[in-house]
Symmetry: C2
Subunit: 548 residues, 2 copies
Amino acid sequence: MFSTMQDVPLTVSRILEHGSTVHGSSQVITWTGGEPHRRSFAEVGARAARLAHALRGLGVEREDRVATLLWNNAEHLEAYLAVPSMGAVLHTLNLRLAPEQLVWIANHAEDRVLLVNGSLLPLLAPLLPQLPLLEHLVVTGPGDRSVLDGIRPTVHDYEEFLAGHPEHYDWPELDEREAAILCYTSGTTGDPKGVLYSHRSLYLHCLQVNTTEAFALGSGDLALPVVPMFHVSAWGMPHAAFMAGASLLMPDRFLQPAPLAEMIEKLRPTIGAAVPTIWQGLLAELDAHGRDVACLRTVIIGGSACPPALMRGFEERHGIRVVHAWGMTETSPLGTVAHPPAGVTGDEEWRYRTTQGRFPASVEARLIGPDGARLPWDGASAGELEVRGPWIAGAYYGGADGDPQRPDDKFSPDGWLRTGDVGTITPDGYLTLTDRAKDVIKSGGEWISSLELENHLMAHPDVAEAAVIAVPDDKWGERPLATVVLADGATTGHDELRAFLAERIARWQLPERWARIASVPKTSVGKFDKKLLRQRYADGELDVTHLG
Amino acid sequence: MFSTMQDVPLTVSRILEHGSTVHGSSQVITWTGGEPHRRSFAEVGARAARLAHALRGLGVEREDRVATLLWNNAEHLEAYLAVPSMGAVLHTLNLRLAPEQLVWIANHAEDRVLLVNGSLLPLLAPLLPQLPLLEHLVVTGPGDRSVLDGIRPTVHDYEEFLAGHPEHYDWPELDEREAAILCYTSGTTGDPKGVLYSHRSLYLHCLQVNTTEAFALGSGDLALPVVPMFHVSAWGMPHAAFMAGASLLMPDRFLQPAPLAEMIEKLRPTIGAAVPTIWQGLLAELDAHGRDVACLRTVIIGGSACPPALMRGFEERHGIRVVHAWGMTETSPLGTVAHPPAGVTGDEEWRYRTTQGRFPASVEARLIGPDGARLPWDGASAGELEVRGPWIAGAYYGGADGDPQRPDDKFSPDGWLRTGDVGTITPDGYLTLTDRAKDVIKSGGEWISSLELENHLMAHPDVAEAAVIAVPDDKWGERPLATVVLADGATTGHDELRAFLAERIARWQLPERWARIASVPKTSVGKFDKKLLRQRYADGELDVTHLG
């Protein structure tokens, strides 16, 4: 029996219409280095309508991809609202990717129009000859346009592009499952993969972001998304703020500690969102110059684990509560948020706050062990995290390796996302990640965390770096191999390091195989390249000692 | 182009599974008069599974209606979770209705099973012979069962009914548009009408309730739904609390000022929801006995307009912030919540707080004027409020007057709900209701609020009561007729009252027709019966004086 409630789709155009009317006086403030630039939500809404008319004028149709290569600013928000609302697909390009990746992604997405900040033209111009599908370039803000002279796509100035178009657009009534935003993962191996968010997934994610369990945005907030809008929609903050009437402080390209500290002190945002590296730099700046930033009630930190010292530093010295969160491009990204349970204090509170956090109702989670069985939420059993929910990807755009028919092992046969993360979950739903699934050592039906062994080894004063990889073993399937870079001048033996480790981990996890190396090979983004280490081992290039 | 996000339905079973695991240690505390009864969310979840098994054992199938005649308590919450999750439809019966209405509704809904509090058996027993479709009665808590002796439906004791059944149930994967809860409007005229909420509408409504714009429930809250669970799902509070992990304080049948004050002081809820009449009694109790109730950060008041004196009394004398909200059975009910915009203070803040409040993104609103045209949001133009959104009814259960084919004038041709309320909306989306559409006077293409004229008249010291109704007028279509009940001993003339009114309203709104009456006729729920007054006028029973 079906209900008799109205069948109204959840769409970005509703967020746009709501924010620009009911919250029309809320502000988008873009930092410029000089006088901040202010625009009301009503103006942003009117300009979004103009942008949609202008894009229609170029022939942009439903489903067409309109790309952005933009910093966090009011213009980017206008594209966030206009492009999905008109039924086209917003494709946010990550301006930090290597040129060949940018080219690959823009061609794979078949971007027809690209909105770009003038300051990024020197980055973009050399790539244009390799983007044959791109028809139009719309340039925002200052920047030397002469680098585009004689280059193929038609160039428009953003303000001229909008001028003269009506301030209202008759947004089409879309199916909420239609595509709204396309974002590619910045995978360290293989080609990037596109995640295609729907209107429905974005809308539901916004509602969740605005609950007290997550960011609790309200019309009294000034929200500072330091995390880029090309990085999983800035964790949903711009759309959620527009929905709740929370004003936005957009840092544009000023992501260095000094301007961040200045904009926080001057404009007094109440909540921020950032990755640890940016915030680490900010802490040093604040400690050195003692600016007043206590306006920030909360900063959400995600993207990678946040060092507890960073969390304590902000809280104890600057009155800012750092809240840990976990997610990935495939999860929109809100997976968990580490608000502790009510009433816990002291060390217990910190234990909760340094986990990845707790799942909301819309993110169902399960842990799958080495043998494929579902593991209990006992805070001890480690398995690969699989998640399911209305804002979790069910496939990649274009399918696995570009083939929509090919089964993709990133998804379980019953449709759950395999996160590739290994961890534990407490009975009250707090997630702690311990390793990446591809790096975990599968030994006799149990998993050994390479990360845990490495952290213990690197805590030894004589160890500069340590990488632990899985190597084949006749009896156990796999066993850990510890590769160690000693500190300058140190001569510590493998047996001493093994004894050091034995005091800290279970006996069956102790590596038998040890190798000294000159340095740990790194990927282009600075992570340990364990794939290469495993290859070197297979090729017999490592000098392995057997102990125990 | 469809997105590649997972297609996961929004269902009550997800709320149930989430709340009883991630928030398994949150509590449902039911007031008993003596020692409060406590049950964890994990226990509630396990008992909900048992209840579903037991109902399946009775032959309850998908779509079958399972009714409740229960106070707010843990057992009612178990039914709230179990019945929709198993695919059946929960029908909450309003125990305050007249017996003939209860019978009509239970038969119209075709209730097969009824869960009833033992304390309500004396009310129910005499009605049972008129409920031929009812097969099973499940009785919870204490109460004399002997009144059921020899009566037809099979009687079960709730605890025995659950005993022995498994604590897990393999909840079916439902379409989110399937029916979950059925609730009838307590309309003052005509037969009651059923509103059939879907899993989707309930889930979305829960997410909204938990945002800062609405109730902002979080796992640190203890929520007190004083508004009954048979009244529009207690405004979504029980389901929303279960989703957010907010503990619940259930008042059961103890809705009198003294026990309410005692449970608040002892158990320290942080947020409450109630209708003004109940809260008015509580204020008098608090003023008289000075209990410490400052634990309550917020009380949401809805159902009818809250007197500003009541709001100020709670805030100034007891530290409780009263927040006004508006909704109706057809709107789930969250329509507006009167949180003022950020930064406003003093009289301006009070002006916002005494409106009905601001719309959330999921409730689209428009005002339709006397001539059917859409009116601006200028804070002055009064029209009938129409709303649209995913938790707004699109039709009544069974259709208009029981005929699914018949067009229902409660819904506009494009599907919006006609609320029957007349009011204004400010440019920033705050609603102020001024009258019911059926009572408004349509004079020459403009509307005159009967309520406004009555309020002014009743402010005159010599007027005990005044009711203003529309009467036919050859020139203007309709004009107001003021019927007045003078205070004991007063002899004030119509011309004096008209002059009093002339100082307070626009000239064209001044009634020409006046009649003195002995008392204003009332409906069964104590409201002015204007239908009857209009009939008396039509029948020439009123002694009408023409002035001006």
